[in-house]
Structures are given as structure tokens and as C-alpha cells.
Subunit: 290 residues, 4 copies
């Protein structure tokens, strides 16, 4: 019998299904670090084998999850600390190479507040590719530099094209060494909203994200490494009913395409997108300087 699955984009939530069971999941490694002073928890889930991937319902790869309850509150100093931790996580997934060309894609619909996270994050990035190509890398004042480009492709209802078609075309034309995609995610529980950031080197899978992208953005499909950064900003309407009622028979069909989101989502998106772009700016410059 097919078990009903409420969709989650978070590896952390996928893993929680197994908590309490005595045996560990084969082919899956989990590490946790907790910074008590700043109340930041970092969980590193490594899915190593196909068996582990099947159990978790997520592809082989590394998933870093940062949890910090105060993430969406307006405290500038605290946000800088989160940005610093996030920059290190990003560097861990990016690897040691230097002087790369990095394309950052801000997925999602800028006209729907909880889905505007990616577009907003790209709008605060330090874009350098055109400057370095025109004036040489000395324009940046450092010896070793990354060329950063950014794109906000829009969503299918606005463009008539799959996000993946647009990104693939741009990647083929401009040949970056690395793609980073930033996206708003769907969580299974409202308790995760606006306090969790997930980074993974597995890219974007079909059906993920607030807007349910239908094609993948992965190393396989694009030929370059793809890092996905996501923050859950909505819960599917069906999920909160499942949580409350414990079964799915009462799931009304007209709830398809509906999502649950907090009333102050505008402040949250502003705060989080700024944290993400600051972290990326740091990571790209850190790398250049190291």
C-alpha cells in the first residue's frame, strides 16, 4: 500500500520520519553541531548510497541545514552572525577552487511575497562578471576573484518556459563554472518556517520549491556543479490538515494549489533575502582572498 506523503523540500524533515526507530538508515550519515550561545544549530546529512537515497526520498549528496529561531527577527548583528555561518557552509559545498565564474539564479515569483525570496536575494548580490571582463580582475582590488553573474528567470506562468530551459540556455551561452540556485521551499510543518536554511550540492529536483518546478537543475542536466540554497516560507495547505487530523481522507481537493504562510511574510522575506545575499557576497570574496 502506497503510504501518503505530504511533500517536503527539507532533508531534515524527510529524516524525521525515521526518528525513534532503533536502527539507523543505511547509507545516511548525520552530524549535528549546536552553538548554544547564538542558538544556531547546524545539521549535516550525507546521503551516501542509492539505498539511503531511496529511504530518504532525496538524491545522493550533502545537505546542510542551519536552524536559528531568531532568523526572521530584525536584529542586524545577529543576522551578520548567521550570514557568516552560512558563508562557511556555502564554502564547504563550493570546494577549494578559485577564480571561478559563478551564476546565481533567484528562482520563484517576485510578485508572490513568500515566493520572492530568490529574486530578492539576487537583487542584493555584488555582481562583478561584467566589470572583471571589461576592466580586468584588478578592478576588484584583490588578486584572486570570482566572476559573479545573476539571473531572475521568473516562473512559467509569466514566461511560458520552464525555469530549467531558461537557465540551461544561459549556462550554455555564458559558461559559468558553478550554478547556485536560491529558492523558497515548502516545509511540512509551520514550525520550520522562516527559521531554517538548507544548502545542498544536489541542485533542484522536479516538483520542489513553492512554485513546483517541473524539471531539474542538477550537475547531470547542466554539466556543472549546482548548489541549491532554500528557505521554507510556506506549507502546503494539505499538510496542516494532515498534521491536525492524522489522516488524509479528509483532504478536500480544492486545497490543491493552496499554501499556508504567515501574515508578516513581507518582513521575513526582506530579512532572509538580505541574510542570504550577504552570505553569498562573503563566500565569494572569502574564497577569492584565501
Amino acid at each position: 500500500m502506497e503510504r501518503f506523503r505530504i511533500r517536503t523540500d527539507l532533508a531534515l524533515e524527510a529524516r524525521e520520519s525515521f526518528e525513534g526507530s532503533e536502527t539507523e538508515v543505511h547509507g545516511v550519515e548525520v552530524e549535528e553541531e549546536y552553538d548554544e550561545k547564538r542558538d544556531i544549530r547546524l545539521t549535516r546529512v550525507r546521503i551516501l548510497t542509492e539505498r539511503g537515497a531511496k529511504e530518504m526520498g532525496k538524491p545522493i549528496g550533502t545537505y546542510l541545514t542551519l536552524e536559528a529561531p531568531g532568523m526572521a527577527t530584525p536584529d542586524e548583528d545577529y543576522h551578520r552572525e548567521i550570514s557568516e555561518v552560512l558563508a562557511k557552509c556555502l564554502r564547504e559545498l563550493m570546494g577549494a577552487e578559485k577564480e571561478r565564474s559563478i551564476l546565481v539564479a533567484g528562482l520563484g515569483n517576485r510578485d508572490v511575497t513568500p515566493d520572492a525570496l530568490g529574486p530578492e536575494a539576487v537583487s542584493n548580490l555584488l555582481i562583478t562578471r561584467h566589470l572583471i571582463r571589461e576592466y580586468g580582475k584588478q578592478v576588484m582590488g584583490t588578486e584572486s576573484v570570482n566572476q559573479v553573474s545573476g539571473i531572475v528567470p521568473g516562473v512559467m506562468a509569466q514566461t511560458g518556459m520552464e525555469t530549467s530551459e531558461i537557465i540551461q540556455g544561459i549556462v550554455a551561452q555564458t559558461e559559468p563554472d558553478l550554478l547556485i540556485v536560491v529558492d523558497a521551499l515548502a516545509a511540512r510543518s509551520t514550525r520550520r518556517l522562516s527559521r531554517t536554511i538548507q544548502l545542498t550540492d544536489t541542485g533542484i529536483q522536479p516538483g520542489s520549491g513553492v512554485g513546483n518546478h517541473r524539471s531539474s537543475l542538477t550537475r547531470e542536466s547542466l554539466g556543472i556543479p549546482v548548489i541549491a540554497i532554500g528557505v521554507p516560507t510556506v506549507v502546503e495547505a494539505a499538510a496542516i490538515i494532515y498534521d491536525a487530523s492524522g489522516n488524509c481522507e479528509q483532504m478536500p481537493p480544492h486545497l490543491n494549489g493552496m499554501f499556508v504562510t504567515p501574515k508578516n511574510i513581507d518582513e521575513t522575506i526582506k530579512q532572509l533575502s538580505f541574510t542570504l545575499s550577504e552570505a553569498m557576497n562573503m563566500a565569494f570574496q572569502m574564497e577569492a582572498r584565501s
Copy 2:
């Protein structure tokens, strides 16, 4: 025992609680008109007595509700038809006086998509007050004209002030004859979303609207007639659980402040706000010409 009440801003939904009961609600008159060809239903609920008001949980006054399933779909001709019906409804509530000064307030948060209906509707209004005051009414090319002004006051998290404080101050200073407030509403069922427009001469009550305004905007509080135009664009998260489970014991407290809204809410708001502003432009000019 206090019966649990899921909040609804719609008189129509308040009335449905009583459907099936043999006796009518005292002090409440209901009329329905159905335009089969265009599939537009107009319901007129008149709450005439305090007893009726208590039963309905809504103040004494007239509530016109327009229902049209295709309201949010992008068909320009159909929208013009809805705007025309809506303009007539608005005229019915405005009464026969001419050459008035009308202030339209677009309530809600323009940065949260389902709450941006009011601000968007005001941005497409034909604003004439300053022109008529500077150049005389002949500037409009008609003999009898309304002076139209508009304001988007923002929400309390952005201003630190109650919406009612801002509106009251502006009304006292500019002395309009009529206030029209446009607002996004919370419905009890997702089936109402983006297909229902409610007009009422009772103004805005505390706790209504997507952003839960805390003070009222009524003839009592402002000294001038207040017409409220609302469209349900969200459902409170608690309501969909209640609908699915039939009881409220499973209501998780962290769902407070969460709402449910469709993924394509950006297109809906664009379409509906345009319909509303077109209807107001028609009504204000119709009146002037009649």
C-alpha cells in the same frame, strides 16, 4: 456554551450557518438575482434589527454580494461586464446625491500579495480632486462631477499607527462627503476565494480584513457615510482544519497569524483590483452624468 466561531468577513457565509433551519432569521431580509447568461449572482442581505444583527454577527445595514466564478480569469470583456454590475451596486449604496467629494482608502499591505488588493485598486483610480479644485469642474468635461481623492495608509507594522487614526485625520482635514474603503477579506472557505465581491454601507468593523484592523471605520466613528468593498483573498489556516476535522480541539496554536492563499494570487489580485477600480471610475462618472 460559547460556540467556536471561525472568523468570516462575509455576510453571505454568516447567513449560511442558518441554512437548512426551518425558520428564517428575524430582522434579516435576503434577495437573490441570478444572471444565467453571464453566471453572475447578486445577493442582497438586509439586516434590519438589532436582533438580526446579533444573530448574524454583523451590524445593521445592507450587504450586496456579487458572485461570479470567472472573476479571476483573464477575460477582458467579461471583466467589463462585472465592473458594470459592480458599478450599479456601488451606486445603489452611494445614494442619489451628486457632486460629492469621495475619498477612497485602499487598506492592506501592498507588500503581501493577497493583502495588496486595496492599494492596487486605488492606484488605478481616476483621481480628480486636485484638478477640480485648481481648474474648476469644467476640467472634467462634464457639468456635474465628483471630486475623487485616494489614500493608501499602509498597515500598523509599517506605520506604527492604526489605519483608523490615519483615515480619521485625513477625513477631518480634507472633509470628504463619503468614504469608500477597499480591503482584502478573510473567507471561511477556500471556495469563496477570488470569486466574490461584497459591498456594504456598514463600513469596516474591528478585527476584519486580512490584516485584522483593530479599530472601526464607520459612520459613527467618522461622521460621514462609509461604504466598504471587500474581496476574500485568504482563508485563516484554522478554518481549513475546522472544515476538514469538524472540531476545534486539534487547532494547533502556532497556526495563529497564518493564512491560506492560492499560488497564483498575483494574477488574481491584478485582475480583481483592475475590476474594482474600473467599477469605481464608472460609478463616480455615472453619478456625475445622471
Copy 3:
């Protein structure tokens, strides 16, 4: 001696340099139609030879220019009339083929008001490519249909990429039959602003547009026909000094990168972008139905 040239994106203005001279420009045909009742003037400039192209400083091709003084005023009926004329002009350049895949690119910076014309025009387009590909052409309710897709690529300061790189990548990936680019232009005189629409089958040349695109978008560079629709919304600051003083010695260098634009440019862009998207929607459906 090199003659000083104030940049203009308008073929009409390029031609005016020669007015009053006795001989016509070789290889250039000019036709004018004037609709007195509606005060709409249509000028058709055909540059037929390389010599004509050199004289005009514009490539070989057809340039249709629509002039209507009331274009930026808020009169809905008049705008529909302009949209209809514009749709016919567009059909003339598109040619007779049917059931094409058409990509519309809204060039310019959506965050700088006079440069937001292209992005705004695309946001009101009827996008159909994804629907037709998923549900078949019967989804549109007509027998013969165009697949319409749209993209807002952003400007180089935001993306680090040339607009042409982004468009080329997307064209290569999604293989449309026709590209239409919509762009805000620089005129030489403020008298042209917001009352002139230019359509041409020559595409976009380097250095044109408000943002001065550096690469071309043409049939040669992309392999498919390219129609450019442009409306002048700014004048270069240098041009108004040249107009006033008659020489260029007084041209202060700090005026580079400065432009002149009207204070009510927000209303103009709203009005014009709506006219353009309505005209495109008509042209794409007209074609499908003819």
C-alpha cells in the same frame, strides 16, 4: 571632419536632419498616412540600400513610426484605437506565417521608471507557450494559434551579462520562430517623448536603448527574424544642451550617463506599456484567426 552626432534611436529623427535639402536621400523611401479624426500619424521609412543606410545611420529595413499626441493621456477608448493601429503595424512586419512560436523580450531596467517600459509590457502579455505545449492548441479555443513566451532579462549592472547573451541562450534553448524586443528609447528632442512608437524589422543595434545595450539582437546574430518595438522615454542630457546652444563645445563631461525625463513618467510608462501589450495580444490572436 567628424560631425558631432547626438544619439537618437528614432529613424524619424535621423531623417529630419535631411529635411529641407532639395534632393531626397538615395535608397530611402518615405510614406506618410495621417488619420485626422484620431490625430494619428503613421510614417513608413524603408531603407533599401547600403548607401541609404549609411546616410541615415540606420541599417537596411523597414521602420514604422506611429505618432499620436494623446498617447500618454489616460483615455481608455483612445488607447484601444492606438493599440489597434499598432497591432496592424506589427502584423505588417511579422508577415503572413501562422502558428509560430514568438518570444517577447522586455529589455531595460524595471527599477528605473523610464527604462521599465519593456518589463512592464511583458508583464501584461497573454503567455500561452506552456499551456499549448501541455494541453494542445485547442486550449486556446481557436484552430490556429501562436505560442507566446516572454522574458525580462534585466540589465548588465543587475546580471553581469550582456542582454544579448541571455537572449541568445534562451533562443538557442527554446527555438522560437520570431523574437520581438520591446525597449525604451532615447530621442533627440523632448518633443518626441511619450507620443511616438517605432517598430522595425531590423532588431536592436549596439548602443541603442535607454541603457545603451552593447551588443546587437538581429536576424544575423540570432538566426531568426527580430522585430523591435520602441518608445522614446528619455533624452540624453547632452542633447538638450546641444539643442539650446547649437554647439557642442559647452558639453560638460559630467553629463555623461545623465538623462532627461518628465516628472510624471510613472503614469506614462503605465499607460504606454498597457497599450503595447494590448497591441501584441491583438496581433498574436489576429494572426491566429486570419
Copy 4:
């Protein structure tokens, strides 16, 4: 004979008309401080007498002008330094009182990029009035606190009302102790753009600002102190012709209502509005803590 005056909103520019003349202007005191390391110049102009006011064409009061060439470049640390200097200037004009209720009004049109400075600055303010009124001042974690409220009134073309009518109404209703207005200004020279911030305790005069407000916002008109913070973001088109040609006979009338602004004005507004809101947040908290 009446000398032709190109409009400037800057006291600094008004004063420059007199430079080189041997005698000082009576009733006007000027002090300059220059921070060489950070290249920040602070000029303090005090107009003390009616005669000085007449000579300067500005009312009696204190004008602080901060000049920093790097103000519009994206360097986060440098901006924090400017914010700190600016916060001190603001404190100087605010005086020593504590625990005040402060209303900040962001004047200008948020839909016209160079005029969006005020609205953007307010959107990043820490708004506290509603919190302190609901939860008491301990909610802010300090003993002595200012209640901060904010309003974006829009411009007359959008509202049909004078900005001053809206502000007066809100001031009368909510009774703040101090009004701060933030506005984009017109300079006489493009060299001032985006590198000068002016603070004054004289409020806003008729005809000032990018949108040419027609009524004043002053202590006289409102009954409370009014501090105006302005940054020149445009130059009137007529001014650059005057600068180039040295006379006004060549001033074409169709340049009325036209302004000159840089192409990258979107980045400038983003940067400057953030600097202004950071400075206000600092000043309001500094005061509370001192």
C-alpha cells in the same frame, strides 16, 4: 531687475552665489568641518536674521550639509560611517528631549525612481509606536524610548490631496512631538547629485522637492518642530542649459516639468535610503539611551 533664479533646494548652493564677493552675507554664519581620512565634509549654515534669509532665499534656521563623494557607492562599512555622522547631525537638530513620539514622513512618488528616496527610507525604519503603546516601553529593552511612527503619503497626482493636508491630518490625530520629513531634492548642478545630504530645522517650503510640493510643512503650519532631511537626486532640465549657455533666453518652454537624473539612479536610491534609515534608527535609539 529681477535676476533669473534656477531653483535649488540646497542652502549650500544658495550660498555659493555669493562666493568670491568680499563682504560676507549679513546674518548668515558658516562653519566647515572636514574629515580628511574619510573625505566627509560637514557645512553648518545658520541663517540668523530676516536680512540673511532674504539674501539666501531660505528661511531662518540651521542647515547642516554633509558631503561625501563615495556616498552612492556600495561599500557597507563606509556607509555605516556616514550613517553615524548623520545620526549625530540629526541629534543636534532634535535637541536634548527624551521619550518623544516622532513621526517620519517619506515624501515623494515611490513609482518614480529618483523621487522614491523618502518612501524607501521609511520602509527600512524601526517602527515602534504601536508596540510601545500596546506592550509598554520595556518591550524595547531600554529604559528611555522614542515612539516612532512612519507614513508614505504619496504625491498629489496619486491622492488628489496636498501632501501637507495628509500630514496635517495625521499630526492632528496622532499628536507626535516631532515631525521628520525625508525628501528627494532638486540641485542646481549635477555635481551635487547623490553625494550631499542636507538636514534643516526649517521644515519644507512650498515649491521644494522633486515633485514641487505646493504647501509648507513647518513649525508654523503644524505646531510642532519639523526637521527636513533631503538628498538631491535630480537637476531641473532648465538648470543644465543655464549652466552650459550662461543665459536663460534659450530656455525652451517644453523643458518645464523635465528633470535630469543619472542612469544608475536605482542603485543610488537603494544605497542612500538605507543610509538614511540606518541614521534615523541610530539617532532615535541613541537619544533613548543617552
